[in-house]
Structures are given as structure tokens and as C-alpha cells.
């Protein structure tokens, strides 16, 4: 009798524990998905891997901290931070990527690495090196579900991610601009011939990608804190998500982000928490060894 009760209790403990890890996994995963989507959008339009994507994320968080500090109300501060980051995205395309058209892929990668150093340097100079917190959007009171707890902010992360993904789908499938971006990614020359302003498409893609990154940064900042280096790991794991889903495949990047986030939370919870940050990379290596173009990628060749 006692034994049976004990077993039941430990079973529900186990499922609560699992649920707990799952909650933190999907929260992480949603963030990685947004970052990965940012990689995909820029890659599709320009075939550039933007190593400054993580810095867009960081700038969203740090920007919000700054505008809140000016006494602006939260929604205004958030919009201002997204606008500021989007400007950086536009600037990156106009002043760094566009002038280097025709350079090799490695050169373009290094230009974006330079941009990431500049953005980190700038934030460090203007806003300092300290860690900052953004207040959670609707309180810090954890919600209990089946023995596991979830922060209201996690629900914000998930909800906004779903909305953004749906909005992006609508944008790419139903709007002229979205279709132009898709056309450019499929065949740049043909797009040009069809009268699509390819330069403008690239410009918009960088801005869109920056805005997405900023949104991700703002959403997680209340959970993880933020400082000028906060974008580095987020950027790398977002890159993992984009590659895992097959570069350029937007929905693939979302799935990739979720897989990376859940694997990370489960791995850290059940296996070895010291190696939490390594899990995403072990996963990506295993996948690439067996499926060289990602889980949902088209097989094809390209070279650096």
C-alpha cells in the first residue's frame, strides 16, 4: 500500500520534472527559432551567413534597457529598440554588404564578423559592460501546470514567436514584397529580369532579419539578463537551428530551433548540466554527419 503510493508519487514527480524541462526547452527553442529565422531570411536573399545576427538579438535587449532608462513606457521602449536595431540591419546591408558585392563568401562572412565586433564595441562604449534586466512583461509569479512551473514571460516568448512565425508566413506567401524575396532567393537573375528590385529586396531582408533578432532579444531578456556579449551564444545556437533545418528553409529553422532548445533542456536536466552549451553543437555535428544538408534541407552543392 505504502509502496504503491510512493511509486505513484515518484511517477508524477518524474512527469512533472519532464514537463519542467520541456517548458524551459520550448522557451529556449522559440528564441533559437527566431534567431535561426533571421539567418535564413538573410541567407535566402543574399547567400550571406550573417555572423552579426546574435548582435541584433543583443541590441534588442540592450536597446530596450536604454529606452526604459529614459523613462519611456515599456511598449514604446520595445518599439524604439526594434526600430534602432532595424536601422543597424539596413546600415549593415547598405554600407557593408552592398559595396562588397561579388566578394567571396568567406570575405562576406568576415565582413559580418567585423560588423558584430563593431556592434559589440559600440554597445559597450555607449551603454557599458554591465548586465541588465528588463522587467517581465506581466509579472514574475510562476504558473503551476501539472506540478511544473512556467514563468509568464515564457508564455510571452512562445506566444509572440508563434505570432511572428504566422506573420512571416503571411508576408512571404501573400505579399508582393515577400514573394519578391522568395523569387530572389530562388533565382537572382530571373528575379532581376522580372523587374524585381533585387537591391531593395536585400535591403529589406537585412532590416527584417534585424527586427526579428531584436524581438527575440527583448523577449528573453527578462529571463536571461542581457549585456553586450549576450548575443554571441544565442547567435551561434540560432545558426545551429538554421543549419539543422536546412539553410534557407524558414520553417526548417523554426523546427531546428525547437529541437535544439528541447535537446538542450533535456540534456542539461537529465544528463550533464556542465555540458549544456555543448549539446546544440554535438547535435548539429551528428545530424550533419548523417544528413549533410540538414534535416529538412534540399540536397545540393555549394562552395565557399
Amino acid at each position: 500500500m505504502m509502496g504503491k503510493l510512493y511509486l505513484q508519487e515518484s511517477l508524477s514527480d518524474m512527469s512533472a520534472e519532464f514537463l519542467q524541462f520541456l517548458f524551459s526547452g520550448v522557451t529556449l527553442g522559440a528564441t533559437y527559432a527566431l534567431v535561426g529565422l533571421g539567418f535564413s531570411i538573410i541567407y535566402n536573399a543574399s547567400h550571406v551567413i550573417n555572423f552579426a545576427q546574435g548582435e541584433f538579438v543583443m541590441m534588442g535587449g540592450m536597446g530596450t534597457v536604454f529606452f526604459l532608462g529614459l523613462g519611456l513606457p515599456m511598449p514604446v521602449a520595445i518599439l524604439a529598440a526594434i526600430a534602432l536595431t532595424t536601422l543597424f540591419g539596413f546600415g549593415l546591408e547598405r554600407f557593408a554588404i552592398a559595396p562588397a558585392r561579388g566578394a567571396s563568401v568567406v570575405t562576406l562572412i568576415i565582413i559580418t564578423i567585423g560588423a558584430s565586433i563593431v556592434m559589440r564595441g559600440l554597445v559597450q562604449v555607449v551603454w557599458g559592460k554591465e548586465f541588465h534586466a528588463i522587467p517581465a512583461f506581466s509579472g514574475d509569479e510562476p504558473i503551476t501546470i501539472a506540478g511544473a512551473t512556467i514563468l509568464p514571460q515564457s508564455l510571452w516568448v512562445l506566444g509572440v514567436t508563434v505570432l511572428l512565425v504566422l506573420a512571416l508566413r503571411f508576408f512571404f506567401e501573400k505579399t508582393i514584397m515577400g514573394k519578391a524575396i522568395i523569387a530572389t532567393s530562388l533565382n537572382r537573375d530571373a528575379a532581376l529580369l522580372m523587374g524585381i528590385n533585387v537591391r531593395f529586396v536585400l535591403f529589406i531582408s537585412f532590416g527584417l532579419s534585424a527586427a526579428l533578432g531584436a524581438a527575440a532579444g527583448i523577449l528573453v531578456a527578462p529571463i536571461t539578463l542581457t549585456n553586450f556579449e549576450a548575443g554571441i551564444m544565442l547567435g551561434l545556437k540560432g545558426f545551429c537551428a538554421a543549419i539543422l533545418g536546412g539553410l534557407g528553409n524558414g520553417m526548417g529553422a523554426v523546427a531546428g530551433g525547437m529541437i535544439v532548445g528541447i535537446a538542450e533542456a533535456m540534456g542539461a536536466g537529465y544528463l550533464i548540466s556542465e555540458y549544456k552549451d555543448a549539446i546544440a553543437f554535438v547535435l548539429i555535428l551528428l545530424v550533419l554527419f548523417f544528413k549533410p544538408s540538414g534535416l529538412f534541407g534540399k540536397t545540393g552543392t555549394e562552395r565557399v
Partner: protein, 311 residues
């Protein structure tokens, strides 16, 4: 006579002359230190350039191989009491074998997927070094005794200078051999290389191992020189820094790798007077150089002077 005029021999002689006379212009230990640091970075970049510049295979994880050399040597010397030189050889062998094992699956990948895989591999190795603190001292790093016969800094200058000259010489030899042509053919067109008998996989693996061993040896020598090592050496930023040096100096140019290593080692030192603005300005210089000289410094200059030969 003719040989002296070729950029290959001429460049090597100029490099030797610079290394020979440089100490006369170095005022203090700090400047000698920077010179030695340049030599170390240049040697890694020469190996990495064979992989990236010649064979066209990117690696965003080579810092990890420097780290394996450094920690391999440090652990064997400090914990196991091995002879330093033997430790260095053991670490290089280990790195070489590891490269050989992972090269096949990794180098099957192309472009950004290859970049991701090498980056991931590097980060995993650096996380292991950071985490296994019983062995490595963790984020605080670890101390190691130096080489007993290297009693002053200038000894190190000459030793590493000599290793650099040897590396440049060997790299040039390799490039100007059937192997070097096969590597460039891999870069140019893998299918075309295969139909005339070049086993492209074999050469990709070979050069991955060679560049890994170059990095490992530098890691070992570096740890004996500074008697101290931290996990940063294996980190993502060090890996990126190495690739940046290669591309900045100019891909597929051995002397470009040396020049890139020299400039990007000196630049942060020069910029320290900017204090907080250091990183910002460094990033800007990097971006502007790559935007306006996308082929890198040395090839662009070489094109300007139309000197022909691409050593």
C-alpha cells in the same frame, strides 16, 4: 640568379632578413613579446591557409587544435612529468589523429555546412577544456614549467623565428609540388580533379591533418613560452581571429598569411590607447579592409605591382 628574383625565394630571403635585424629595433621586452606572438600566429595561419586558401575548405575551429596542442603539452608535462618535447610530439600526434578521424565526415560538407561543423567541433573542444577542470584547471587555466634550456626571451625569439622560416619554406615547397596543385584543383573543381586522377578526399584529409598539426605544435610551443594557458586559446574567438588573419592577409598566399598575422597581432596593441573604443575601431578597420580589398592585402598589392607568381 634567376632563382633570387622569383617571389618565392626572394620573399623567403626578405622574411629572414626582417627576422634577423628586427631585434635591433625592439626597445623592450614587451615589443619582443609581440614579435614572438606574431611568429606564433603566423605559423598557425600558414597551416590554415593551406586548408582555406589553397584547398578552399573553411575551418572556423582551428583555435581548438592550438588548444589541444597547448593543453596536451601542459597536461603531460605538469601532471605526468613527461619531457616537454616528447609531450609536444604526443600532443601533435593526438591532434593529427583526431583531425584524421573527423576529417572524412566533416570535409564531405560544403560551404556554410562545413563552416558550421568546424565551428561546432571547435566549441565542443573548448567547452570540454573549460569543464574538465581537474585536468585543465578550468577557466582559470594552468601553469606549466618552460623549457629549461630556453633561458631568455631572445632565445625564444630566435627559436620561434626559425620555426616560422621553416614553416614558410615548407609551405612554399608543398604549394609548388604536385600536392599543392592537387589542393588548388580541389578548390577549382572537384569533379575535374577526380577525372584526371586526383583523389580529392585524400587531399582534403591530408591538408586538414597538416594544418591541425601546425596549430598543435604552435599551441605546445606557446604554452612552454608563456608557462601558462587558459581555455581562451581554444575558443571560438581565437578560431575566428585566425581565419580573419588568413583572409585579411590574402587567401592562397603564404606571405599573405604572415602579413595578416603580423598586422592583426599588432593592431590591437596599437589601438589600446583608444581604451574603450578599441574593439569598435578594430571592427571598423576589419570591415573596411575587407570591403575595399576583398582579396586581402598581399594579393591586392601583388596585382597592383603585377609581379606574377602567386607564392
Amino acid at each position: 640568379m634567376d632563382k633570387l628574383k622569383s617571389p618565392r625565394t626572394g620573399g623567403l630571403l626578405i622574411l629572414m632578413a626582417i627576422i634577423a635585424v628586427l631585434p635591433a629595433f625592439l626597445d623592450n621586452a614587451f615589443q619582443v613579446e609581440i614579435a614572438i606572438l606574431i611568429f606564433f600566429n603566423a605559423i598557425v595561419c600558414i597551416g590554415l591557409n593551406l586548408l582555406i586558401g589553397y584547398a578552399g575548405q573553411i575551418s572556423l575551429g582551428h583555435g581548438a587544435f592550438v588548444g589541444l596542442g597547448a593543453y596536451g603539452s601542459a597536461i603531460l608535462t605538469a601532471h605526468q612529468g613527461w619531457d616537454p618535447l616528447l609531450s609536444m610530439v604526443a600532443a601533435a600526434t593526438f591532434t593529427g589523429v583526431l583531425c584524421f578521424v573527423i576529417a572524412r565526415p566533416i570535409l564531405k560538407l560544403k560551404g556554410h555546412y562545413l563552416a558550421m561543423a568546424t565551428l561546432g567541433m571547435g566549441i565542443i573542444i573548448s567547452i570540454v577544456i573549460n569543464t574538465e577542470d581537474q585536468l585543465t584547471g578550468g577557466p582559470d587555466g594552468m601553469y606549466v614549467d618552460g623549457l629549461s634550456f630556453m633561458t631568455s626571451q631572445i632565445h625564444w625569439y630566435w627559436l620561434i623565428g626559425a620555426v616560422l622560416v621553416f614553416s614558410v619554406w615548407a609551405s612554399l615547397n608543398l604549394i609548388h609540388s604536385p600536392i599543392g596543385r592537387a589542393l588548388r584543383a580541389v578548390h577549382g573543381s572537384e569533379v575535374a580533379a577526380e577525372v584526371v586522377g586526383v583523389d580529392t578526399t585524400q587531399y582534403k584529409v591530408l591538408i586538414f591533418v597538416v594544418s591541425g598539426v601546425f596549430a598543435s605544435v604552435v599551441g605546445s610551443l606557446g604554452v612552454y613560452y608563456s608557462n601558462f594557458v587558459t581555455p581562451d586559446i581554444a575558443g571560438f574567438f581565437h578560431s575566428i581571429e585566425l581565419v580573419v588573419m588568413v583572409v585579411f592577409g590574402g587567401m592562397a598566399s603564404t606571405f599573405g598569411a604572415v602579413v595578416g598575422a603580423a598586422i592583426l597581432t599588432i593592431l590591437p596593441q596599437v589601438l589600446t590607447f583608444l581604451h574603450d573604443f578599441e574593439h569598435l575601431v578594430f571592427g571598423l578597420i576589419l570591415m573596411l579592409t575587407m570591403i575595399f580589398l576583398p582579396k586581402g592585402l598581399v594579393p591586392t598589392l601583388a596585382d597592383l605591382f603585377k609581379k606574377g607568381d602567386k607564392s
